[in-house]
Symmetry: C2
Subunit: 273 residues, 2 copies
């Protein structure tokens, strides 16, 4: 089963467009995990268990593991998710971008070492920096297009032939890199009009949409701008709002995370039709 | 001592603009290292010892370690280089790019965990994705500008106000991100004319120049296009041509690497005046 097929099945099975982001910031974890060498693993797997029937994907952000030398825990988290929830796509958020020989190594990291169904990739270095990921034909390649941060405009909004750069990236992916139908795009929720522009360019290509929750994007505007004709087409990510739904140290962090995930899923679903 | 000061001192001390890239591809390592759990560490430290008086910097490429789960060996290699050759700048080639909260984690990875003097960064996500690195004021931040691969043209050569995108990146870095004088740019040796364009925009800002050796860039054209008024200003990288200078399995790989490094340094120096 390919990434796109798996994603479509998860949208349907959990009636959800919610992607649960795993960004385990040690300083914000409940106290019981902070002094445990396996605390990140314990925390993330509890979050996974609490939200697996509400999510269309899980997305660990590798930077939080790399800063702490906790790649071993990330390996175990990915293995846990794949073993217990094999029908939920696992996205490694890595945003790599490098020449072909190096990209080949990063593809091994994402797809072989961590067993991810999909990985996020930066387009700045162009086609041969993306090809080594595309060679893994059953995996998803999610290209940065219009990111949710303020500085995203510095390059992505520069005008090329009268249109912003991010639209050229959307076209490049839709017309060239997506030959095998395995691509998706990152488009931030903080810019609903631009989300709608991208949707118009890429047909029903899936969009990974960060920026709701802690980053302030509006759910209704996001869903209406990015949904496909059948009310799917998006993985709307929430990380911090779900992970840290209780004040620090709360024993019921998993229940609170579940409640927040359910509220977010339902708020999204209210606007899918 | 800042990264730029350390780099200037290394240019002078070793009379060299050569950056030795550490891209340890397991399949190409001499046989004695392939079955050793610490083989990558053994290989890279031998290369470091063999070239430390010929190089202006060392540049490990983290993808080769990440693909194998060998971050522990990378930590040890960085510690070894810093302890034994503290005057040679250590550049982590990671090309990360992410929103501020995540970039902060990647900066910790590069500067704290690996103790790098500088790190390579992707500009696609703009200013707030670069700021967390700039906050480490004694470290170098080396931004991708015009990369050496063929696909680099896909985005970097798009015209914005009549000029290619990579020139806008060069200006953005020179005029804004370099407020603290800690930035450098990646500009490939495969495009000497474009290297000269960038040099014209950024004054004496250091350039990290990949693309000679295995990638085919011409040394004379590269040096003449990228040198500053005093014949420095560049870290000209060679990785594979030095690391794999002997046919696989040769016992004298370190001597061959040294010979190749010396030839490359001298070929560069012939055109610096």
């Amino acid at each position: 089963m390919t990434f796109i097929e798996k994603l479509s099945a998860a949208w349907a099975a959990n009636d959800s467009l919610l992607c649960v982001g795993l960004d385990p910031d040690m300083a914000r974890l409940p106290a019981q995990f902070q002094n445990d060498p396996q605390g990140i693993y314990q925390f993330c797997t509890r979050i996974i268990d609490a939200t697996a029937d509400l999510a269309c994907s899980f997305k660990p952000q590798i930077a939080y593991f790399a800063a702490l030398g906790a790649e071993g825990q990330l390996e175990k988290i990915c293995a846990y998710a794949k073993e217990n929830y094999p029908h939920i796509p696992l996205i490694l958020d890595a945003k790599r971008g490098d020449i072909g020989a190096t990209a080949k190594q990063y593809a091994r990291e994402a797809f072989d070492r961590y067993g991810a169904d999909a990985v996020t990739v930066n387009p700045y270095m162009g086609s041969d920096s993306v090809e080594p990921y595309l060679e893994w034909s059953d995996r998803g390649v999610i290209i940065l297009c219009r990111t949710s941060n303020a500085g995203g405009s510095d390059l992505q909004f520069l005008k090329v032939d009268g249109k912003p750069l991010y639209q050229h990236v959307a076209k490049l992916v839709a017309e060239k890199w997506n030959a095998n139908g395995q691509c998706a795009l990152v488009v931030g929720a903080t810019f609903p009009e631009e989300l709608a522009q991208v949707r118009g360019i890429v047909g029903d290509m899936p969009l990974l949409v960060p920026g709701i929750g802690a980053q302030g994007g509006d759910i209704e505007a996001t869903v209406k701008a990015g949904r496909t004709y059948n009310g799917t087409g998006m993985m709307i990510n929430s990380s911090r709002a779900i992970l840290y739904a209780t004040p620090q140290g709360g024993e019921d962090f998993a229940a609170a995370a579940r409640r927040m995930a359910q509220e977010t899923r339902d708020a999204i679903n209210a606007h899918r039709a």
